[in-house]
């Protein structure tokens, strides 16, 4: 893993109609790193991702993506920067007026740098990788929720972006498919040396791919570190979160040490 920082967040704050969602968030993601962003529902994980992609504007704080400060970029330059970023949405966000194949091909087709036959090949290859080899000609509304999720993942990764955000990529998927999705994320990271942030509640399966975890709680970063660090943490919230999700009994922490 490189020491180059691809995402740097300093003192990030965001409120919606007076309600604090994020407050003073500091965060760094290094090149080639996969970080799992966890936390209770509604704690601002998706908002954090959207802020980092420039889809929302922070109330305060600085976000530096791939060496460029979002605050100082005009919308046109932000667009250029977004060609280097991938985002898989929590609610799929597939274009319902396009077929699945067109959806996945869309980033490449708009870019115009790749020839049509090559686009078709890459689309089919990516659909094979997410376990949907026969759906290119279907419309999104003909797919199940889990299938749409995988199509969204294929679209987010088709352009081999340097930085990819996966917003709850396995929500609603069965355990086998979830594991496959996490393995795919790991494979993509190795193949393209991309850096990723995975928002998920599935801490157990995330362990197979994530280098580090960040726990958002009560508008702030409650914990940042590896799974092993979490096991050693004395914070009852971290304790509870990892114990519940990882399935490791950490009750020894209450007794001051392992039994």
């Amino acid at each position: 893993m490189s020491q180059e920082v691809v995402l740097r967040v300093k003192g990030l704050g965001k409120r919606f109609e007076g309600v604090c969602v994020l407050d003073g968030i500091d965060f760094e993601l290094r090149a080639g790193e996969i970080v799992g962003l966890i936390g209770p529902g509604g704690c601002g994980k998706s908002v954090f991702v959207k802020l980092c992609c420039g889809l929302l504007t922070p109330d305060r704080g600085e976000i530096e993506v791939l060496g460029q400060s979002l605050r100082q970029l005009a919308e046109k330059d932000r667009q250029k920067l977004r060609t280097r970023i991938g985002l898989s949405f929590q609610n799929y966000a597939l274009f319902d007026f396009m077929t699945v194949g067109e959806n996945v091909a869309f980033p490449l087709a708009q870019d115009g740098a790749v020839a049509a036959p090559e686009i078709a090949n890459r689309v089919q290859q990516r659909l094979n990788e997410v376990g949907l080899p026969l759906v290119a000609g279907l419309m999104p509304n003909e797919l199940s929720g889990g299938m749409r999720k995988r199509v969204g993942l294929a679209r987010a990764t088709i352009a081999n972006a340097e930085l990819v955000f996966y917003d709850d990529p396995t929500a609603g998927l069965d355990p086998v498919t979830s594991s496959k999705i996490f393995n795919l994320i790991r494979d993509l990271q190795i193949a393209h040396r991309s850096s990723s942030i995975i928002v998920s509640h599935d801490v157990d399966r995330m362990r197979a791919v994530c280098d580090r975890y960040v726990l958002l709680y009560d508008c702030q970063v409650r914990f940042s570190g590896t799974a092993d660090d979490a096991l050693l943490s004395s914070d009852p919230i971290v304790h509870e979160f990892f114990q519940r999700d990882v399935g490791v009994d950490l009750s020894f922490r209450h007794d001051g040490g392992p039994a």
Binding site: C53, Q79, R82, L87, A93, R155
Partner: protein
């Protein structure tokens, strides 16, 4: 009581100001996105088809009845006075300058404007707009500008088509119900030299098209919440578009008549 009335007045004024500001801001963003001219070809053509080709049956139907109604309304007086030559002038003048563009505009707003708001609103609540931005596509260029162009151009063309069918409807009604020969009807139209009214009607249609597109896009892109939000936005879009049509109609009619009367 007075305080409550004033509070209501103030809140309505603020709401109207917010809508007007939002609509003007949307217009500014559309115009800015069109300079330098850079259009999404396939999306623009698709919108021309959706907005124009799919709307012409309803426009023809509206126009046929509009022309017919104009003739029926004036028919009684024409029969009484025997001034059958005025039938074409009366119906032509009303249809070309006023009733045709306004009724076609209202029909267009209900069909195309409402559909546009619902489509953009649904895209907004299902994060498809965000997805476009995340894929480095400007929604203004990709979604809004093609719709704006399609609505302005197509409403002008549909009004031109509607004018023709309104006159046909008028001629048929005069022939079948009033026993006035359709040639007399058309002679009345052409001898009245209504070219000025025809162009005024088309200018109105261009303004109505612009107003419907900007209003419907503004409401669509500012949807909040789920299906309820989309429903509210469609409702607001149709009402505001209708107001826009009548305001532009008033302004253009006023300007044209001030110019004519000096």
């Amino acid at each position: 009581m007075i305080r409550r009335g004033l509070a209501l007045l103030g809140s309505n004024f603020l709401q109207a100001s917010e809508i007007l500001g939002g609509v003007l801001l949307t217009l500014w963003r559309i115009l800015r996105a069109m300079v330098p001219p850079r259009f999404d070809g396939p999306e623009t053509w698709m919108n021309f088809y959706k907005v124009g080709v799919k709307s012409y049956p309803i426009v023809i139907l509206t126009a046929l009845f509009t022309g017919a109604i104009m003739v029926i309304q004036t028919g009684a007086y024409v029969r009484q006075t025997g001034a059958t030559g005025l039938l074409g002038w009366g119906a032509g003048y009303a249809v070309l300058a006023e009733i045709g563009p306004v009724l076609i505009g209202l029909m267009f707003s209900g069909r195309v404007g409402a559909n546009n708001t619902a489509e953009l609103g649904t895209m907004k609540v299902t994060e498809q707009i965000d997805a476009l931005r995340a894929l480095a596509i400007d929604p203004m260029h990709h979604l809004v500008v093609p719709r704006f162009l399609a609505m302005v151009v197509m409403l002008v063309l549909l009004t031109a088509l509607g004018d023709l069918f309104a006159l046909i409807g008028g001629a048929l009604t005069s022939e079948l119900l009033l026993d006035v020969d359709y040639r007399v009807f058309f002679r009345g139209v052409f001898e009245s030299q209504l070219l000025g009214e025809y162009y005024t009607g088309l200018a109105k249609a261009a303004c109505f098209g612009g107003s419907i597109s900007v209003v419907s896009c503004y409401y669509g892109l500012s949807v909040e919440g789920g299906a309820t939000g989309v429903g509210r936005a469609v409702n607001g879009s149709v009402v505001t578009s209708a107001i826009g049509i009548f305001v532009f109609d008033y302004l253009i009619t006023y300007l044209v008549n001030t110019r004519i009367t000096g």
